[in-house]
Structure formats: structure tokens, C-alpha cells
């Protein structure tokens, strides 16, 4: 089930537990990297592979929940919290802020492994979505300013002549721009282009006028 291209980060100030978790993951054939503090983890050079973070709530330098808050701005692997005494407010806060799971020590082997597997799979998914979006953004950057004006009008469902009138250009010229946009964005059809525009969050600036029909 697990492929080799993943890693489990462990942040816990307790050395024996850090060691034991690493051993357990090794016994499961998983790659792990352990850190004694949040600072060590943030500073570390981390491989760009699907991952998850097992984070002790009670850390010496920073509370695990606060660390979660700090990392919320950037891309980070799913977090599985481990705590000595799981109180409800802490767990609710953690889950609300996107924690993958919240487990109390000592935790069951099966629970921990299930949480880790789910978190890594989730990260893998997120990462591939992020990669696709990165490619689309790359393509979007190749569009000329005029083509970037044409794109929202086209995906809004305006007829060619309507879009041309909107931009004050001829219908023929518009058709040329439209073809270039389709090619540059690698869209197989208008429907595909609409989906891509949605992923890129290109705003739909015009609703289709009543009585009009799609191109």
C-alpha cells in the first residue's frame, strides 16, 4: 500500500518516545525523520515528497497548536497531534484548523498507522492537485494581456460578436485570440477551458445574456 516516496516527520521533546515512534514506523517499513523541537523541524531541509507530521502538543519551545497556526499560511503536511492528556477544547481547535487527527498517548498501533496512512494519502492528493494547478498557472502566464481579457468573456458564455463588441474589436480578431487562448491553455474544448478557468479562479465577469446561445 505504501510506496517508498513518502516521509513521516516526528516532533516530540521526549527522546525515548521519538525513538520508539521511529522504530515503530521502521517496523512498518516507513521512512521517518524525528525532531526534538518545532524550531528544529522548521529549520530542517525536508524532502519534497508526500508526508505527514506527528506533532506533540506540549512542546518545550512552542505549543503544537500554535505551531499549526503559524504554518497555516504555507503549504505543510497534514498534522497528527499527539497529546498526554487530550482535552476537548484543544482537540476541537486542532481539528478546526485542519489537523488530520488528534490522538492521546499512549496510542494504539493500528490507530496511529491508520492516521498516518490517511494523512499521507491526503497529502499525496493535495500535492498532485497543487502540481496540476502550478502547470495551469504556468500556461496562464504565457497569455498576452489581450488574451487574458478574452478568456473571462469567453468562459462567461458570451457570443463571439458580443465579446468582440465588449472589447471594441472585430469578431474575426476575437476569434484569433480565442483560438490562441485554447491552444496555450491546452484546452480540448470550451468546457475544458471553463474548468481550467475555474481552477485558476478566473472571475466570470459577464453572465450570458438572455436569448443568447453558447458558441
Amino acid at each position: 500500500m505504501m510506496t517508498g516516496d513518502h516521509i513521516v516527520f516526528i516532533v516530540d521533546d521526549d527522546a525515548p518516545l521519538r525513538e520508539a515512534l521511529g522504530e515503530l514506523l521502521a517496523a512498518h517499513g516507513m521512512r521517518a525523520a524525528a525532531f526534538a523541537s518545532a524550531g528544529d523541524y522548521i529549520a530542517a531541509d525536508k524532502p519534497d515528497v508526500p508526508a505527514c507530521l506527528i506533532l506533540d502538543v506540549e512542546l518545550p519551545d512552542i505549543n503544537g497548536l500554535d505551531l499549526q497556526g503559524q504554518m497555516a499560511e504555507s503549504d505543510h503536511p497534514p498534522i497528527i497531534f499527539l497529546t498526554g492528556h487530550g482535552d476537548i477544547p484543544s482537540s476541537v481547535r486542532a481539528i478546526k484548523h485542519g489537523a488530520a487527527d488528534f490522538l492521546t498517548k499512549p496510542c494504539n498501533d493500528a490507530d496511529l498507522m491508520a492516521a498516518i496512512t490517511a494523512a499521507i494519502n491526503h497529502d499525496r492528493e493535495t500535492r498532485s492537485q497543487r502540481a496540476e494547478l502550478d502547470a495551469l498557472r504556468q500556461r496562464y502566464r504565457t497569455l498576452t494581456p489581450r488574451e487574458r481579457e478574452v478568456l473571462p468573456l469567453v468562459v462567461s458564455g458570451l457570443l463571439n460578436k458580443q465579446a468582440a463588441a465588449e472589447l471594441g474589436i472585430s469578431e474575426v480578431t476575437l476569434q484569433i485570440h480565442r483560438r490562441n487562448v485554447m491552444q496555450k491553455m491546452a484546452a480540448a474544448s470550451l468546457a475544458d477551458l471553463v474548468r481550467i478557468a475555474g481552477q485558476l479562479e478566473v472571475p466570470v465577469t459577464h453572465s450570458r445574456r438572455p436569448g443568447g446561445s453558447g458558441a
Binding site: 525515548p16 518516545l17 520508539a20 515503530l24 512498518h28 499512549p106
Partner: protein, 647 residues
């Protein structure tokens, strides 16, 4: 001349009869010649004087007429002169004088003589009678004496007496009144007004004149008794307060004959009264305006006075709560004291009444609107010269604001203390949990890893051995944690000092005093006087005491009956034995209670008793619980007398 003859003829018979009449009349009869010599003297005269008739005419020398020796020396000259005058002029002779009786006693007589004249008017003979008027004279003298006495009395009484005609015209002032006013009745008259008007105008204080005239006029018109106080001007112009009264004297037909008045100088009295009234008014104002509720009670506690503020506060008067057959004090207390405070008030007040000791208590008092307010009542006894209590005086200060503020403060403190206590226990347990959980978590993880290495195909024995070793290591460290926690409560032996245990109890009691009062608990503390000192960590033992006492108080929280917490400290062999007994629901599992996290309470981590036991055991003592008969629990701990020396 002689009255003796032989009455043989008719004329003689007439004469004899006339003589008999004369001589049988009361009084003495006599006749005399123009020279004043007696020609006849009735026999009873001679009998009275005890002398012969001829002796009466034996004149000569100083005795002009011959009867000088029979007339009182004080009267003689006057009588002789008169007689001489009458003999010379023929005027009627009328005198009153004393005659000496045969036994030497003088008696008053009225002597009357008339001349008898012939055809030419010449006096031929004097005829007269002498009548005994001694009794009449004495009566007159007595009357005069009495009159004089009365008159003196009227003048001497230290009051003004006056008399008015039925119309109100003053006709008499006694001497004192004349002296006081500096004028007599007749000096008052002024033209154009009645004497009464003139009197009032002249001597009655202008502020009182109108009322005095009205009142007196009313009395004169109706005959009703007159009485009033007014100021009267003395001769020197100084006004004096007078108490004046007048009554009419009526004749048999009920008509008013006179008005008699008595006027008494009450100036000193008025001034004294005024002074008294002033000081009384000031005192009353003081009492009424003091920002306090004031009352007085009889020696038996019966309320006899309440200041206006107290009356307004309570909303009822002194006797409005009286019930037949019940002392006013009891019914009043029932009506005004908060039911929860009633027993204490009754006890303390009763004690003060019985012993005379001052009374002071804070309690709630029912206001007229039914709201109970906290007051501080203080009362003290007032004693007479013999030391007997004559009255109780009390003052009630409204301290509701302060008490409530303090209660709120106490509540806040308590909440804070609880919060910090709870936080302390929560922290402690969290730290214990953390300390124990870390090695446990490692053990569990290593166990799974070990299991997995052994289950692999082929089994990774090396890695399994490594993890097993780690398991042993982590398990030992978990055991160390437990030992460390236990050691937490053993470590402070250095803080132990030889301490008088009674002092520790007193301090603890002090610390909990407010809480005890707040929870309405009666502490029944019985500490033996001969306790030996113990070697303890004062703070830790206080913690144990506070924990156990609070435990007992909390156990009685829901109790409707009296909440009594008994604290008893005794020496028992080589230990000091402390027992804390409550009347709560008691304990079902006396031993289990001392396990950490065992709790019958709604709140709390249940660490208290476990820690208490740790502390006591660290002092080489014992702590256990027993059931009380019929209800409640007793927590007992012992501390060795030589705990320090033995350690």
C-alpha cells in the same frame, strides 16, 4: 335713796312689783343721783362685786366716784371721763369696760345710763343697766384674731392673690402682688378704659395680653375656671412667668359674687423647664438625627423606646407586635430578626440580659418593606447608684452595604482560591499524567515495533531485541516517575520544626473563620491543653487540616439540621491524635477515599485526601476515616510526638 320700804298700800304694791321685775332681769340695774352717787344697785351687782352698796359711793382722793377699784385700770380713765361728761351735759352714757368680779376676774360689761328729768328739764336721777358682754367680747376678739390671721395669710403667702367683681373689676391685690407690681388696685385706673383693661395693658406682657384678655373674658362670661400662664411685669420692668388661676365664688342661688385669683411666680420653674426642654429637645434631635437606629429597653429587655428612624425602618410602633401572654421582646424579635439569625440573637441577648454584659451582634433586621438588611446591634446597660440595671440602651447601625461588599469579596476570594486550588490539582495531575504517559507511550510504541519485528518474515531478532531493551528502559523510567511523585511529599523534611500543635490549630481556624461563618457551620473545637509539641512542616499540616475541615464542611452543605464540625485534639500514647467529625452523609468506602481520583464530590480531581495521606505518612503519622454513629464521618490523623527525632 333706798329701795327698801314696806309695800302695804297700792302704790307700794306697784313699786314692789317693779322692783321684782328689775331685780329678776339679766344684767345689773342701777340708779344714781345727779352727782353720780348710786342711789340703787341691784343685789346681783353687789353679789358680783362682792361688796356693799355703800362702798360704791365711798369716794375720795383719786377715787372720784367710789368705784375705781372695780373697773379695770386700763378702762377706768376713759369710763370715769365719760361718766363725768354725761353728768355734766346729760348726754347718754354708753361705755364698755371690764369689771372685777369678787374672785378677781375681770369681765366685760356694757354700761348704759339715761337721765330722768323733771317738768323743767332738770335731771333728777340717772337710771342704767350693766350687761355682761364678756362672751360677746371674746367672740369678737377671736374673730378679729382670725381676721388678722387671714389677712396676714393673704399677705404672706408667696403668691399673688386678687379679687375681681363679677364684672371683672379688680378690687383687691394682696400685699405681695402690690409689692410685685409696685401699685395697688386703685393705682391702676386710667381714664377711658376699664380697670381690668388698664391692668392687662400695663402689666401683662404684650405677647400674652391678647390671649390673657380672651381667656379671662371667656371665664367671666361663662363662669368657667380660668387658668393660664403669662408674663407679668414686675415693678422694675422685668417680666416674670406666672401661673394664674381664678375661680368664681357663688352665692346660694348660684350667682357669682366674686372672682378669686391666685397668681404664682413660676419664672424660675419656667426657665428651668425651658432649659430642660432645650436640652431634651437637643438630646432628642441628637437621637433622632444620628444616622443610627436607637432603642431603649427595660431591664428585662422589653422595648420601651425606639427612635423615629428605627420606627420608620421597622414600620411599626412599640406595642403593635404585642401578643397576649407573650413578652414584647419575644414577639418583637420574632417579627424583626431574620429566621437564620434568631437563635443567635436570642441566645446572646438573653445572655446579656442575664449577666448585664454589653451586647454586640451582627444580624439581619427586617425592614418595613420585608427586606432584611444587615445591621450591627450594640446595647449596654444603664445602672443606678446601687448598681442595679435600670435600662438598656441600644444602637443599630445599618451595615448592609459593608457586609454585602465583604461577602462579595469573600465569595470572590473563595472562587479565586478554588480556581487556583483546582488549577493546582489540574496542573499536578496533568504533570503526573504527562510524566507517566511519556514512558508509557514509548513502551507501547516499542512493544508494537517489537511485535512487528518478530512477526516479520523473516523475523528481525536484532531489532526486536533492541526494542525490548528499550521497553525495559522506559518501564523503569515510568517507575521512577512514580517514585518521584511520591517523593514530592517527602522532600520537605527540612521545613519541619518543633511546633506547638495548638497554635497550628488556632491558625487554621483563623484561616477558615470566614468560610466557616459563610457556610453557617458551628465549629466545636476541643484542644487538650497539655499537648506536647510536634515536629511538623507547619504549612503542610495546615494544608491537611484545611483539606479535612473543608471536606467536612462540604459534606454538610446540603444539611438542613444544625451543621456542627467537631475538631478534637488529644494526646494518645506517643502521638497527637486529631479527629475531625462532620454530620454529613458519611462514607461508604473509608479506605478507597484516599486513592487519588476517587471522589464523591461533583467537582475536584479527588487528589486532596490522597495528598493529605501522603503528607501525614511522610510525617510518620497515619490518616484514616471512620463512620460516625448515627451519621457523618470522622477523619483521624496522628502525628508522632517525636516525629523529628525519629526521622
Amino acid at each position: 335713796m333706798t329701795a327698801v320700804s314696806n309695800p302695804l298700800d297700792e302704790t307700794d304694791c306697784e313699786a314692789a312689783r317693779a322692783l321684782r321685775i328689775i331685780e329678776s332681769m339679766p344684767g345689773f340695774a342701777w340708779s344714781a343721783d345727779v352727782a353720780g352717787q348710786f342711789t340703787y344697785v341691784s343685789p346681783n351687782t353687789l353679789a358680783f362685786l362682792g361688796n356693799a352698796r355703800d362702798d360704791l359711793n365711798t369716794s375720795g382722793g383719786e377715787d372720784e366716784f367710789g368705784w375705781r377699784r372695780f373697773v379695770h385700770p386700763d378702762d377706768y380713765d376713759r369710763v370715769a371721763a365719760r361718766w363725768r361728761h354725761c353728768l355734766e351735759t346729760g348726754d347718754h352714757y354708753d361705755t364698755e369696760h371690764r369689771l372685777r368680779r369678787a374672785d378677781g376676774v375681770y369681765r366685760w360689761f356694757r354700761n348704759s345710763g339715761r337721765p330722768s328729768r323733771d317738768g323743767e328739764g332738770r335731771i333728777t336721777q340717772w337710771y342704767g343697766t350693766t350687761i355682761d358682754i364678756e362672751d360677746q367680747k371674746q367672740a369678737e376678739a377671736a374673730l378679729r384674731d382670725r381676721e388678722r390671721e387671714l389677712s396676714q395669710l393673704v399677705d404672706m403667702v408667696p403668691s399673688h392673690l386678687w379679687r375681681l367683681t363679677p364684672e371683672g373689676r379688680p378690687i383687691f391685690f394682696n400685699r405681695r402682688m402690690v409689692e410685685f407690681l409696685g401699685m395697688d388696685v386703685t393705682d391702676i385706673d386710667r381714664p377711658g378704659m376699664s380697670r381690668l383693661e388698664a391692668l392687662v395693658d400695663t402689666v401683662v406682657h404684650p405677647d400674652d395680653a391678647r390671649a390673657m384678655k380672651d381667656a379671662l373674658g371667656r371665664s367671666l362670661a361663662t363662669g368657667a375656671h380660668f387658668a393660664m400662664r403669662y408674663r407679668l411685669r414686675r415693678a422694675d420692668g422685668v417680666y416674670h412667668w406666672m401661673s394664674s388661676r381664678a375661680e368664681p365664688l357663688r352665692d346660694h342661688a348660684g350667682r357669682i359674687v366674686q372672682w378669686y385669683g391666685l397668681c404664682h411666680d413660676i419664672d424660675d420653674q419656667m426657665r428651668a423647664e425651658e432649659g430642660l426642654r432645650d436640652s431634651e429637645r437637643m438630646l432628642r434631635q441628637l437621637v433622632e438625627t444620628l444616622p443610627a437606629l436607637i432603642y431603649c429597653a427595660a431591664p428585662d429587655g422589653k422595648p420601651i423606646y425606639r427612635s423615629q428612624q428605627l420606627r420608620e425602618f421597622l414600620g411599626f410602633g412599640l406595642d403593635e407586635k404585642d401578643e397576649a401572654g407573650r413578652p414584647r421582646l419575644a414577639s418583637t424579635l420574632d417579627a424583626v430578626i431574620h429566621p437564620d439569625d434568631l437563635a443567635a440573637v436570642q441566645e446572646r441577648y438573653g445572655h446579656s440580659l442575664a449577666t448585664g454584659e454589653p451586647y454586640a451582634l451582627k444580624h439581619r433586621l427586617r425592614r418595613f418593606d420585608g427586606v432584611y438588611r444587615w445591621v450591627e446591634t450594640r446595647a449596654a446597660s444603664m445602672r443606678n447608684a446601687e448598681g442595679a440595671i435600670v435600662q438598656w440602651t441600644g444602637v443599630c447601625l445599618d451595615i448592609d452595604g459593608e457586609v454585602r461588599a465583604r461577602q462579595e469579596l469573600q465569595l470572590a476570594q473563595q472562587r479565586l482560591a478554588r480556581a487556583s486550588q483546582a488549577a493546582g490539582l489540574a496542573e499536578l495531575s496533568a504533570s503526573i499524567a504527562h510524566e507517566v504517559n511519556q514512558p508509557l507511550a514509548a513502551i507501547v510504541a516499542n512493544s508494537h515495533a517489537c511485535h512487528r519485528w518478530l512477526s516479520a518474515e523473516p523475523a528481525n531478532i536484532e531489532r526486536a531485541k533492541l526494542t525490548a531493551e528499550r521497553i525495559i528502559r522506559d518501564a523503569n523510567s515510568a517507575a521512577d516517575v512514580v517514585s518521584r511523585i511520591r517523593a514530592l511529599f517527602r522532600q520537605s523534611t527540612e521545613a519541619r520544626t518543633v511546633t506547638p500543635f495548638g497554635g497550628v490549630i488556632a491558625e487554621t481556624r483563623e484561616l477558615l473563620a470566614d468560610e466557616v461563618a459563610q457556610r453557617r457551620i458551628r465549629m466545636d473545637i476541643d484542644v487538650a491543653a497539655d499537648l506536647p509539641p510536634v515536629m511538623v512542616d507547619r504549612v503542610q499540616i495546615q494544608q491537611v487540616l484545611i483539606n479535612l475541615i473543608r471536606n467536612g464542611m462540604e459534606a454538610m452543605d446540603g444539611l438542613a439540621t444544625e451543621r456542627v464540625l467537631r475538631l478534637r485534639v488529644r494526646r494518645a500514647d506517643d502521638t497527637v491524635r486529631t479527629e475531625i467529625s462532620d454530620r454529613g452523609p458519611g462514607v461508604d468506602l473509608p479506605e478507597k477515599m484516599f486513592e487519588a481520583f476517587f471522589t464523591t464530590k461533583e467537582h475536584g480531581m479527588g487528589m486532596g485526601l490522597a495528598i493529605c495521606r501522603s503528607i501525614v505518612e511522610s510525617h510518620d503519622g497515619r490518616l484514616w476515616a471512620e463512620r460516625n454513629d448515627p451519621c457523618g464521618a470522622t477523619f483521624i490523623f496522628t502525628l508522632p510526638v517525636r516525629a523529628g527525632a525519629a526521622a
